[in-house]
């Protein structure tokens, strides 16, 4: 992990991870790891706390299913509300990331 996750980043990442379809906690962690080219990893404890919190807020729905290895696993599904929040948050992140790039892209004074 290169740097700690920015506050609020984790939630939107989790929602995005589940936008591809229902998945269990480990799958979500793997997705994030793969999707960010292992630049970002989620601390396992924080992952479950966040997943449960999102479930409580009604953004996710959890249900027990059989995994591909035929183990009992808890799968998380994005709810309609979760999908809406993801869309909003994605826009917000795009905007703030663009702003951040713009700010960071400026050459420091007296550099050239």
């Amino acid at each position: 992990m290169l740097f700690g996750l920015l506050a609020g980043t984790l939630d939107v990442l989790l929602l995005r991870a589940l936008a591809d379809g229902p998945n269990h906690g480990y799958g979500v962690a793997r997705w994030i790891s793969v999707a960010t080219d292992s630049e970002m990893t989620v601390e396992d404890g924080a992952l479950y706390t966040a997943l449960h919190r999102l479930e409580k807020r009604g953004l996710l729905r959890a249900s027990w299913r059989r995994s591909d290895t035929n183990r009992r696993a808890r799968y998380y599904t994005l709810t309609a509300k979760g999908r809406r929040v993801l869309a909003e948050q994605t826009k917000v992140w795009h905007r703030s990331a663009a702003a951040l790039f713009k700010a960071l892209g400026r050459a420091p004074k007296g550099a050239s």
Binding site: H24, G25, Y26, A29, R30, E43, D44, G45, A46, Y48, T49, H52, R53, E55, K56, W64, S67, R71, R72, A73, R74
Partner: protein
Amino acid sequence: MSTSSRDGPDPTRARLERDIDDELAFHRERMKADLVARGLSAVEAETETARRFDRLQGHRDRLVQLGLRQEVLGRRRAAMEVMKSSWRSLIRDVKRSPGFVLGLVAILTIGLGVNAITYSLVDRLVLSGPSGVHAPEELRRVVLHRANRSGAQVATTDLAYLDYRDLLQARQLQGAAAESATPLLFGSGAGAERIQGLLVTATYFPLLGATPAAGRFFTAAESEQEGLRAVVLSHAFWQRRFGGDSSVIGQVWPIESNRYLVIGVAPRHFTGTRVRRVDVFLPLEAAADEQIAGRWQSSRNISWLEVIVRLRSDVGAQAAAEEATTLHRQGRASLPAADADARLELAPLSALRGATASPELGVAALVGGVALVVLLIAFANAANLFLARALRRQDQVAIRIALGGGRRRLVLEEGLEGALLATGAALVALSVAVLGARPVQTWLFPDVAWLEVPVDGRLLIGLLSFAVLGGVAAAGLPMLQVGRTDVQGWLRGGSLRMSRSRTRTQTAILVAQGALSVLLLIGAGLFVRSLAHAQGLDLGIDAGRLLVVGTLPGETPPPPEFDALLRASLDKIPGVERTTVAAGTTSFVSSWAIRLNVPGLAEKPRVEDGGPYVHAVAPGYFAVVGTSIEEGRAFTSEDREGAPRVVIVNRTMARLYWPGQSAIGKCLTLGSDESPPCSTVVGIAENARRQEIVEGESLLYYIPIEQAPENLRAGRLIVRAVDDDPNTLARIAETVRREALRLDPALRYVAARPLADVIAPQLRAWTLGAGLFSVFGVLALLVAAVGLYSVVSFDVEGRRRELGVRAALGATRATILRMVLGDALRLAAAGVVIGLALAWLLAPAIETLLYGVPPHDPGVFATVAISLFAAAVVASLLPGIRASRADPSRSLRAE
């Protein structure tokens, strides 16, 4: 968060922990597998996983806490959702079927309203006990058990003054007091009014533990001394007559023909040991002459008061009663006719049975029972309405269950909706009760001192909770039944149209309703016949057309010839047929006896009623009151003072005094003179009542008022009206009052009372029973009929296909109509049989309240059975006709 630590681990928490552990274990397994897949050895992978999981384990507790919180929230949210959807479906129901909601609210209102009013009655009469009395459970009313003249055991609460004095010496009692109720005349002139007085000993208020609301109570000396008498006002009378003004204390007011000093006011709602209205309390010994004449202080034969004692907490009731009995026997030992086995019982202040039984309690119990039956019918009907609706919604329910709607939730929603409806009905019922309680209370028990608030707060809460529970049951239970249906099979049938025939529950409810209606109607029939019987009795006088005029002279004596002038002016009033004058005994008003002897008759025959009682009457009396002369002649104006003395005896007296011979021409001697002259019997009158509608035989005789002893010359005026219309009687009463005051403005009091008003209280038990049972019975029949109608309609609707097939196969309209009616009649028959059986069992319980009709009167039973059948026919006729008119091709095509 854990709420059930007492019963071991919280199941919710255990489940949560298991789930979280499972979830984390899965994570750990996959992680290890991945590490191995990436080339780590099994041992290295295990070490790495364990390292990472050390940290993860710390989060486990947080996850559990989070989960628990969510669990609570989730439950709350689900409950809210159920509430919301119940509310939505309620609104939908009101919009879609206002008839259902209206009918339901009406039915529940009837049931709940009737019960609210009944509870208010029972509460005042039975549950709360006398107001303002300290520890009423320690108080006892003394009942005397002794042998009467004919040797039979009798029980009475009427005791002599000396019997009360005996009990004052009892060591095993806290104390004793005596009371005697009597109507009194209060005030004078236009402000004069008839009030209820209670004579009480000085020990009375202290014994009952009452403290005055103002002023003070009697002292022992005050109670017994001569001269200016003291009076204590009841709180209600003080408020009504004096507006609660305390300056009335110290004022002197006339009561009857004496003057009384107001010394205090009794506590609010205090009416002594009974709940009957009391206006003033008078000192018993000093004011005894308002109630009784004669040597009441020394005679043990004048029983006119009731004795109340208070038990000691350290002495058993049995020991106290034994001591009281001993004192009583000692006191009476010297009397020649003393009953050595006489026994005193210390009975509760009022009871349903026995000597202290009060009619209020009996009627209250009856009303309570009837009201409960009405409530049962109401809830049964509510359940039936809900059931019918539930069945109608079966398709919807099946789909919901199939979609995983959850039966529990369905039942819950329905129950909630029922509770909401019932609560609404309860609110309506409560308004009805608050508005209706007072009129009903005063109609049923005009003598009882009712509290200012007719219905109290406890009732409100009780009624609401009862309504909610009933609503849940009525609405939820049918859903259970519907929810139990085999949804799979139903859906697999390819069509949602299942056979919609009546369920067994519906049938049971209908039959039960019919049976309860029969029960109430039989009660109504028995009471109506009792009332008719009592009203139809030949009283020996035309009581319905008579008024009795009472006057009390003021400070100055009335002008001479007042009576004659008044009589003359009354004869001219329209509506008055004739007038007469009578003294001594007057039917239903007063009784009088003077010494009477029959020369040659050693032992005069006696009847239980006592007597013989004397009427001193003017000529024309018999024609005016309507008593016929069966033999001989009536009095004429020739039978005046100085003329040969004559007497007329009643049928009973003629038969008992001169058995086997004619009484005409026989000789009686009247009065206490040394050797009174012979009065010759010139006529025999039919038996007239002395004081009760229902009474044993009385010995009555009549003498001309002009030949009567001095103290029987002042007669009261009796007016005969042209008819028995209450308006005529009221108009005459008012004119009499005006005329009397015109002739003598100083008159203290004048009133013309229709005898019908005097008799009415004696009819009250039957009027009450007849009214009560009729109203409730008809109501119940109506509700049952509506219930039958709706179920039969519903049935016919559901069987349309079957009926269509039958019609197509050649069934005539008459056949189909007969089928529908036959079905309804079978239901009615079941109700009738059960109802009749119930009535057969229960009717003997009200036998003592009936008059002239046996509890198993076949006429009443048959009439009620026929009425129920008739109601069943009427209720099912319309749906039956509709079914028979149905076009078979149309109803079949609808399939």
